[in-house]
Each structure stands twice: as C-alpha cells, then as structure tokens.
C-alpha cells in the first residue's frame, strides 16, 4: 500500500527534496532507506505539487541521491505508551534505547499533540515544597507550573534541577512525582549525573528518560521534547500522576531549529533564529498544566544556558515571555560559594500568589516574602553605594541593610545541595533575618503578623546577645 520512491533530487544540510511523489501530507513521518540498507527517519516540512521537502532527523551524511529510497508513512511521529515506560530509557525519537527498554504498548499517540483548551485548564495553585528556601520562600513553585532555570555555562544548574527532582513534594500528601527527564544535546557526563542521582534516591523506577546526547543527531532534538511531553501527558492525564518534566538544554533545541530554518533559507529573525521561535517554544512549554477534573498535572522545568549570561538573548527572552516566571542563577553568587546561586531579585514565580498563604504554606508567607525582597533589594543598593563611598559613609540604618544582604545570601539563599528545608523552617529563617530591623521598618508586613511572630524572634536574638 505504501509506496517507495527511489532517488532524491536535492540534498542540502539536514533537508532533502523528493520529487514525483503523490498524496504526501504535511508533517508526515518518512522512512529513509539508504543504499547500504541502513534506515533513517524524517518529517515532511513542505509539500508543493509533486515535491516533498523532508527534514532528516539523523542528518544527511552518507545519503546518496540515486539509491536512497523513501517511504511516506501517512502519519506523524508516534510514541508507544504503557505504564511500563516508567524506568525505561528512550532515544530522542522515542525508540527504546536497548532491548530491556521495550514495552508492550497500550496506546499510540502522535507526539505533536493538540492545544489544551484554555477553558479546560485548571489554575495551578498547589504548593510544591522543593526544600530550597530561595524557591519555596521567594519563587514558589506550584503544580502545573512551567518555571525555567536560566543559567550559564559552568553554573550548577544540573545540581539544582536534581535537587528539585529529589526533594519535591506536596505538603500533606505522600504522593511523589514521576519524573520525565528530557536531554537534548547534553554530554554523556551530564546525563549520567542525572541518571546516577535518580538511581541513588530510588527515583529511577518512577522516571522516564528521553536521551538525545551531544553526539546524537542534532536534528533529532526537534522531536525529543515532544516525545517526552507526550509521555508526560499520558502519565498525567490518563494515569493521574503528578509529573515533573526536566528539559535540558533548551539552547541546544533552539540551535537545531535554527539549523533547519537556515537550510530552508527562511528569513531569519533575531540572531538568525527563525521568526516562529516563539510559537515553536510555546507549543512545547504550554503543554504543562492542570486540567479540570483530572488528578494529574505536568510541572515543567526547562533549563537553558544563556549565551554569555545574556538575559536578552532570544532564547531566554522568548522563554521568559511564555513561562510563568524564571529562576536565574548568578555567576557572582556562585563565585561567593552561595549554593544554589539563585539571583533572587530578577527571579520570579508568577503563580506564587495563588500557591501560598493560609492552608497552603502559612498565612504570613506573602508579607514576609515582600519584606525580604524589599529589604534585600535595598541592601544590594546600599552595598553598591558602599563600594563608591566606603562603608563609613553609610547611615546607621543603611549599615543594617548592608549586613542584612550579606546574611541573607549566606544563610537564606545558600543551603547546600543536600539540605532539605521545610517551608516552616524557610519562613522562620526569614523572620529571624528580618528581626535585625526595627519594627517600623517592616512596612510590608501587616501589624497582625508582626504582633504574632516578631516578638518570638526578637526575643531569641536578645537571649543570644546575653
């Protein structure tokens, strides 16, 4: 039934043009059989009259124009699914990595998925405790959120992502997360770090790994996140699981997209990335979320390394416009041995307001968060000022701010890779640090909470002083 076409008229970069085809559909999966009998996969990017433009996932190296046969399969890329995918490893195209990773499928799903109806979405508002103060206290993560980590090369983003995967839980429940780990173009070492970490904590048996490593075909990366998210959707919305998806590294994904776009001679947008980069990224990120009437959820943590730590580079920039906040890692903090080196000021979680407060974390959370932020921002300003004027020129109040900023970085943000702080601990730590200010300076905290909490911490301080 399916026809084989022999011969290819043009090959350029990762693309090839097949002529004389009939009934080919846009987006169709293509099987390519090389002269030597080896097989490759491709996807139709454009059809025009009897010509089909095919993007070859494994690259076009070794494809010859005469002998190669192509077969159009009449469907998109599909992922075979069953609950057994947990604990298995798949390639970037969703094929089992080894014989042991084979499953008996219960279902086949097209990896491109359909957009979730905004009306069907449920607003994410369940607090996830990651055990990291800078996230729980200041940039609270909630179930169904997409919160990227903006990092740079050489920063410990992998350690932090692993820590989140290891420690995350929802208060008051014993349910843990299933983890879908999607690697795009990262090195063997990096992926091995994650696998070992998941193994150590026993989380591997509830994880799905989709691996496209640095030496795997680059174009395959375009399919990789979609394969992983299809697994996540299956687990979340059909098997009622809470899924944490880690995507690393989005920068490699975008570069693969740019490569295809350049080969197609498309008009480039900023820095050579295609004009549709925003739409394309959205089609990945927006698959996170919660759906009304379903128990599961998809929480997405994409990691991206910002070229030259530049936040205005198109990849972090467009990502930031789609995701619900961002956690930014800072090189100066990393140098100061603050671990994790989260830059609290530009980091943000947009969904935190619905995920914190009474019944979720604690009633004083929102106020204390606002106060910590304001005080830290002021403290950083004062520190800059002190560089110019010298510490002696600061007013007494400014000296407190100066000290506060230092302590905040050393005690609150910094906690080390294996410390798992409860939200109570995080909030109390905030009070403790703030107690160095006179009460009237704590304007962002309501009187009620000041009355309730502050004396406790003030007293402790006095006792210590004695």
């Amino acid at each position: 039934m399916l026809k084989d076409y022999k011969g290819i008229s043009n090959i350029s970069g990762p693309l090839m043009l097949v002529k004389g085809v009939e009934g080919v559909k846009y987006g169709e999966l293509v099987e390519i059989k090389l002269g030597d009998g080896s097989m490759r996969n491709g996807e139709v990017l454009e059809v025009e009259e009897d010509k089909a433009l095919v993007q070859v996932f494994e690259g076009t190296t070794g494809i010859d124009a005469k002998e190669t046969k192509t077969r159009f399969l009449g469907r998109g890329i599909q992922m075979y699914l069953s609950p057994d995918i947990l604990g298995k490893i798949f390639t970037g195209l969703g094929k089992p990595k080894t014989e042991n990773d084979r499953i008996i499928p219960e279902k086949k799903l097209d990896i491109s998925g359909n957009p979730i109806n905004p009306y069907a979405r449920d607003y994410p508002n369940e607090f996830i405790q990651t055990g990291i103060s800078a996230i729980d206290g200041l940039n609270t993560l909630v179930r169904g959120q997409k919160l990227p980590i903006f990092s740079g090369s050489g920063l410990p983003h992998n350690k932090m992502a692993a820590q989140i995967a290891r420690q995350s839980k929802v208060l008051g429940t014993e349910e843990s997360f299933a983890v879908v780990f999607i690697a795009m173009g990262i090195t063997f070492e990096e992926s091995e770090f994650f696998i070992q970490d998941l193994k150590k904590t026993g989380a591997l048996s509830r994880s799905v790994l989709i691996l496209n490593l640095a030496d795997d075909p680059a174009i395959e990366r375009i399919a990789t996140p979609r394969v992983g998210l299809t697994c996540a959707e299956y687990l979340a919305f059909e098997k009622d699981m809470h899924v944490l998806v880690i995507l690393t590294d989005m920068t490699n994904y975008c570069e693969a997209l740019r490569e295809v776009s350049a080969s197609r001679k498309e008009i480039p947008g900023r820095r050579g990335y295609p004009g549709y980069l925003y739409t394309d990224l959205a089609s990945i990120y927006e698959r996170a979320g919660k759906i009304k009437g379903r128990d599961g959820s998809i929480t997405l943590i994409p990691i991206l390394t910002m070229p030259e730590d530049d936040k205005t580079h198109p990849i972090p920039d467009l990502t930031g416009y789609i995701t619900e906040g961002q956690i930014i890692l800072s090189r100066p903090l990393n140098k100061k041995k603050v671990s994790p080196p989260i830059d609290a000021l530009p980091s943000l979680s947009r969904l935190k307001d619905k995920g914190i407060g009474e019944g979720k974390t604690r009633k004083d959370h929102s106020d204390i968060f606002n106060q910590l932020y304001a005080a830290y921002a002021r403290g950083k300003e004062v520190q800059e000022l002190a560089v110019i004027l010298g510490e002696a020129a600061l007013t007494d109040m400014d000296k407190i701010y100066y000290k506060f900023a230092d302590e905040f970085e050393a005690k609150y943000i910094s906690q080390g890779e294996y410390e798992n702080r409860s939200i109570e601990e995080t909030l109390d730590l905030g009070w403790k640090l703030l107690s160095m200010f006179p009460r009237e300076r704590l304007k962002r905290i309501s009187d009620e909470y000041l009355d309730e909490y502050l004396p406790r911490f003030k007293k402790e301080e006095k006792e210590v002083a004695k």
Binding site: K25, E28, G76, N117, P118, T312, A374
Partner: protein
Amino acid sequence: MNNNIGKIIKVAGPLVVAENMMGGKMYDVVFVSEQRLMGEIIELHGDKASIQVYEETGGIGVGEPVYNSGQPLIVELGPGMMEAIYDGIQRPLDMIYDEAGDYIPRGIQIPALDREKKWKFEPMAKKGDEVKRGEFLGFVQETSLIKHYIMVPDGIKGKLKEIKEGKYNIEETIAVIETEKGGVEINMLQKWPVRKPRPFCRKLAPEEPLYTGQRIIDTFFPIAKGGTACVPGPFGSGKTVIQHQLAKWATAEIIVYIGCGERGNEMTDVLLEFPELKDPKSGDPLMRRTILIANTSNMPVAAREASVYTGVTMAEYFRDMGYSVALMADSTSRWAEAMREISGRLEEMPGEEGYPAYLSSKIASFYERAGRVRCLENDKHRIGALSVIGAVSPPGGDLSDPVVQATLRVVKVFWSLEAELAYSRHFPAISWLNSYSLYTDNLKSHIQEEIGEDFYEFQTEAMKILEEESELEEVVRLVGLDALSSTDRLTMLIARILREDYLHQNAFHDIDTSASIEKQHKMLKIILYFNQKAGDYISRGADIEEIENMDVLDRIARMRYIDEKDINKIDDIENAIDNEISSLLEE
C-alpha cells in the same frame, strides 16, 4: 458556492496554496480539505490563492479540496456574547470543551452564539416609526449589568411594519421593516466582517477620564474614555497584572479582554477570578460585563492574527449602543509576530527585524478603531467610547523594537514598565519619569470639576518632588546622603513616601488593589500637607532625623489600606501631623 472547488498545490506550515480559486476575493474565508479547516485568502495570483489556515495543518496534502465560502471573516453579534470565552475566530471555547473535551480538535465548527436560547425582547420602537441603521428597536436584558440593545442593521432604512415583544431566539424575527425594496425581517443576530471598522456618525475628542483605580495611572498618567494606551515592558515587569487590574477596576461598562498569544494559565486565572470579583457599583460579578478572547500561544498562529480584529469588532458593536467599552490586548507583540510569521511564509520582502513593511500601518489602523464617537442615530445624543489598551512585549525590554516604536507613534498614553522597579518589587512597575499621558490637558476641566481645583496642583507638586529626587540621587551617589542639606533630605523622604506608600500598589491586597479618585486625592493631600509642615519645621532649625522618626509616618504609610467607606478618616491624619509637630516644638 461549492461549484468552484480549489485544489491544494502547496502546504508549508499555516500557509496553504491552492489553484483553481477563480472568483475568490482577498480575505474570503475558505475551508481547507475534507476536515474543513478554516482559513482566509491573503494573496491571489491568477487562479492561485495563498491561504492562511487558522488551524494546525499537519496531515494536509497536495490535491485536497478547498471550498470558498465567498464571505470575509465575520463575527456574530447579538445576545449571548457577555461572559463568553472565544478563541481568535470567535469559536466558543466553553462549548468546544463540552463537545470535544480537554483539547481543541481540528476543524470543529460551533456557532459563536447559542441558537436555541430564548431571550426576552422588549421593544423600544413602535410600529409605524421611521427607522434607519443604528437606531434601537428594543433591548434584551442580557446580564444583570448589561442591556443589550438591538439596533437596525447596516444598510436598512424604512418604516417599522411590525415589532414583537416576547421571548425569541436570535434567529427568530422580532421586527419587519418596510424598505424601498420591500419588507425585511429583522432578528437579533447580526454579522460583521472583522477587518472593517463599524460605522459611526462622527468622532469626538475624548474628555472624560477612564478611572482605573490605579494611583499612578489616574493621578499622573490618566487615560480618557475613547483613548489609547500602551504598556511595553520586559517579561516579569507586570504587564499582564496591569491589564488584569484595568479589566477589573476600570470604570468602563464593558470589557473585552484579548489574550493574544499569551499563557493558557493566565486566561484560566481570569476565568476563575472574574466570576468571584464584584462590580463595586452593583455588587454583581464582574464577569457579567466581560467578553474574553483567548488565543493562547500554543493555539494556531493565524487565528492569533485574527483575534485582535475579532475583539475590536465586538467592542465596537457595544460602543455603537452608547456604552463605554475598554479593550485590553495582551499582547500586541504576539499579534505582530503572527503577521511576521505569515509574511515570512509568503516570502515577502521584510522590513525591520523581519517584520513586514506594513507593520506600522496595521498597528495604526488597529488603534484608530478606538475613540469616543457620536453613534449613528438622529434625534438623541448617544455617545459611545472605545478605549484600547495594548500590552507590548519587546524582546529584552528594548524600546527600540519596531512594534513598540510603531505603537508609540499612534497611542496617546505610554506606561513604561521598568525591570529595575519590578526587581525591587515596586508594582505597578510603571516608571514615573519616562511615562506620559497626552490626555492630561483634555481631562483637566473634568477632573477639577469632579474632584477639586487643587488636584492638579497636588499632582504637579508631587511630580516635581519625584523628579527632584532622581537628581538628588545622583548627588547622593557621589557624596553620600549626609552631605545633603536638611531641605534636600526632606525632599528625599517625601519622594520615598510617594513611591512606597502612594505609587506602590498591591494588586493582591483586598483594599489596596483599587483606589477611587477621591481616595487618591485625599492621600496625596495628606502627603503634601506633611511635606509643607515638615518643611516649616525644618526652617525653624529642626533636625531631619526627628522628622524621619515621627510616628505619624506610620499612619501615612497605612492610609492606602483604609476602606473606601471610611476614606474620610484620611483627613484626620492632618490633625495628627499638626499635633505631633507642635509637641515636637514644645520639647
């Protein structure tokens, strides 16, 4: 209509080219393949048509049919629009959910307005009246907040032969008008092409303020009913929160909110929150005056391009009834990017940053659909207003972005969001130094009449203090705070109060989220009164630190949390200032 069936010859993403499309007109709606995916003709070459398809085109191939509807993209206008949530081409998302579940399948067609529901129609015109387009025939109480007037459709003029009171669905005849060409049956459903502005009698200069409850906006950078504003800012600077705040608290009668290429969860937020929020005047849920259009970033890009037109046409329809309508578009950058994507697929010669050369004219003509107008009508003075507030998301927050620049050339109000302010959690992160409003003079007489002659003096004085602060900050950076004179330090203190206790506003606090203009007036008065008294005290040789430690500062900081019912309590702070200063003088 079906005798001319086109044939697809090319598919490239959302762009499809078909031949044998003779008779097709630009911007005609077509249906692609047997799945009937909706699209629009955007280019014609001989008998070949380029079509932008509003849905995902995976699985579409060469040789499949294209059916031309012979009509441009239209919206349905009539009772049932309020409280609805539509996608970019006015398909009701709630009904799609009921029919198709969690995901939006391709090719689904559901009419925008419920055909079955019966509405109680109450006539306003009488049999025998001479009527023409735009005049009211009657109304339907659509929600407790909105009377939906039924107007005579465009192009119809004549004598009212028959008009019926009672319960009808939107397709049943409610009136018959005897025109020159014979009797025309009128029902409550009207259709209008989205890309064509609806007619009005004439445009008027905006002179009434659109209060938003946001202190920095109403006091310093006000927008007029019928005005245009833009909010550009980098991500995380709070564009969407500002848009939501305006949708909640703006004194418009109807809100059209377009989520154009933005996050799905944000629309969910609106959907869950608006039914809970109460209209301050009537106490009814705010949702009853709101129409939502949600074309989130993962929904098809071509429908995103159409969504702003769909929204503005619905808004114009209510403007024509004499309402004050406010339209929020979040974000127009995504709309511009959708244009860029389609333009790229058409292989058009790009302008700046790859955007099409017609970008600025499209943006200008979109904002020009705003305005305060005399509606079509002869006897009474029916005035409607459509205010448009567009968010812009420039890459990296860079204001030299072509979309920002093209927008700034047409809008009259510019609320500049700054990342620095957002980092220090100063929200709304609108810069008081860079923003502007060109309506201040138009609105002056109205506000003075309503609030008091002194409002503008206060406003000018407060702005002066803030500007002085930014100059003083430069000095402080060089020589330190101690080197300033007491008067300058007082200016710094007052500026800080203005920033932290007045301009800063917590959108998530029950009371602080919105402040009436009366409250703003009172608050500003107190702060400046304090400035004056403290200035006097300093001139008598007082030390600045005494002033910085005054107890009354705490009361000033907390006046924003005083309930609207008790705003007269703010006046008491004046006495408290007097008392504290006189007791300090005694010491």
